[in-house]
Subunit: 338 residues, 2 copies
């Protein structure tokens, strides 16, 4: 029992909860014997979903939570008031050490606020960045911060660089990951006040592989492994990424179905194209971790299907087994430039 | 003669100068009898290019400029020192009223600095934003500012909204264009300090159609006609747009050529797909205007081919004929909220 990686899962969060969330949990436990899932939410609805599956019951536990935090509720208030919500109860399990990680497809704001307030930061971490992996031409890149903590300070960006490096090296397996600061030109003198102040700090940071500025246009090419930026800009980059990708892919599909001739052609290119587009499908990579917390919190897309839930759970296993938080703690404490 | 729209063209700017620039100029004069092009640059090289074309010689004039400002030269210094460069001389023609507009595919920095320093701002305009049109699912959207003037103030963003509205209504022909402020959520309380301060100003601005916040993911869908933001963020959005588009399109092409079966299919979908992708091809829309100057300055991509140069010239014609600057002047003066 003690060897399980224990994941608290918000069974009520996201557009397809609880059905797809429970399905993802079952797919995870059936693939990975080391994981145990705690499903938080309406017990009877969860049990009803569970009744359709075969799985090792030692790997799944249901914890009743009578409340749900809605997608558009003001997060600070919701976290404070809804003590019996799946998010607040699930995070409490992480805080108390009964679970190692928490995964939710629910309200981003509530997950971010709850992560800081309920789970708490690792000592020395100023801000926990939300750090999604984004697909690139030759793999994935970690983008941080994409969270709600806008208007960051330079010292915080330096911590993002360190935490991102630990994650890419140990969870994704990229040796000596290249770190770039998001900028509007390649030269050191380019940028806004924040970038100009942060650049020399990153340059002088001994334990990361800082390669300088990275322009947004080079991010999809995989120019660097870790992109460091302030949360407002990071959010704009991430959402543009998703928006342009989705719009282009649907335009390509629509274009291919516009004539009889192209419809036949579309059938022939479909298998090959599917493989290509799958690489750019953000669901393949699971949710985004909120780094620097005492325990792991993973936020998956509101639109998450079972596959993304499963991948998010798998990420928690690697995170725990690779001792990411211990490594973050060490990196933050040892070389804090401030 | 007096009826010509006179465009100063930097014949030495961009990756394909002077050949493609001259070609674009000739295509423009052969299509539009009302335009006269002044080609600035190395006279003998320009004349050599011109010798291959048939055109009305009254519509083309060559003005020798012995210097070229390089893409990576520090712009302020280059504008100050290289008095005989194609950019400085071309802009001087606009300043002196000998030309109505200036078009360049050369150094963005030099064009932005030159626009402000040499051409000068319309009275009351705090900052001239660089305002590219970006393709969306159902048309185009104007994104401003994407220039080099980062860390803008709220009053400047309000001016961007006004100038952008004038441009979309009169150059692109969108009636009562919808203006959105780029934000990381739809709610009014979301955003960084700049957005929170600007939001109420835009809301209270009587002569624009402000619809609230727009998330980056909804920009490609054409959610609004004018997106207002600070230049650093705007540049990140624009470059992500271009980068993801280019990466995805090349991945789609590569995917389609990965098997014999898909290669045959690719031939069949090609005509239909070409039409679709053309819509997302940024070159179709000509360069980005620098709004709020006494005269028009248009910056086209460094990689511009003849088609983009021609479209940029055509944009100058509409700009002049629609009296955009007079309309901007009026809007800025009448309702300045500061």
């Amino acid at each position: 029992m003690a060897d399980y990686v224990k994941v608290a899962l918000d069974a009520m969060g996201g557009d397809h909860a609880p059905a797809e969330v429970v399905k993802g949990a079952i797919e995870a436990v059936n693939e990975e014997k080391k994981v145990k899932i705690f499903l938080f939410g309406d017990e009877s609805r969860i049990r009803q979903e569970l009744s359709g599956y075969t799985y090792d019951s030692a790997q799944v536990e249901v914890v009743h939570a009578s409340e749900v935090i809605g997608m558009s509720e003001p997060p600070v208030n919701a976290i404070r008031k809804k003590k019996d919500s799946s998010i607040v109860k699930g995070m409490a399990y992480v805080k108390q050490g009964e679970c190692d990680a928490f995964v939710s497809a629910g309200s981003t704001g509530a997950v971010l606020v709850g992560g800081q307030v309920l789970v708490g930061r690792i000592k020395g971490v100023e801000r926990p960045p939300l750090a999604p992996l984004i697909p690139t031409a030759d793999g994935v890149t970690l983008l941080l911060d994409c969270g709600a903590n806008v208007d960051a300070r330079p010292s915080q960006l330096v911590q993002f660089a360190k935490m991102g490096s630990v994650y890419m090296e140990n969870v994704v397996g990229v040796k000596d990951p290249k770190v770039g600061i998001l900028n509007i030109g390649a030269e050191e003198e380019k940028g806004n006040a924040l970038v100009k102040e942060t650049f020399p700090l990153l340059k002088n940071c001994p334990d990361i592989n800082f390669v300088g500025s990275v322009e947004a246009r080079d991010v999809p090419l995989g120019a660097v492994d870790v992109v460091v930026c302030e949360a407002f800009t990071g959010n704009v980059l991430l959402k543009t990424y998703e928006g342009v990708g989705a719009t282009l892919i649907s335009a390509v599909k629509e274009g291919m179905l516009s004539s009889v001739r192209s419809k036949i052609g579309a059938l022939m290119v479909k298998p090959a194209l599917k493989k290509t587009l799958k690489k750019f499908d953000i669901e393949q990579y699971g949710g985004a971790p909120l780094l620097g917390l005492k325990g792991l919190v993973v936020k998956t897309h509101g639109s998450s299907k079972a596959i993304e839930i499963k991948n998010s759970i798998m990420q928690c296993v690697t995170f725990k087994e690779q001792h990411i938080n211990e490594k973050i703690q060490e990196k933050i404490t040892l070389t804090d430039p401030s």
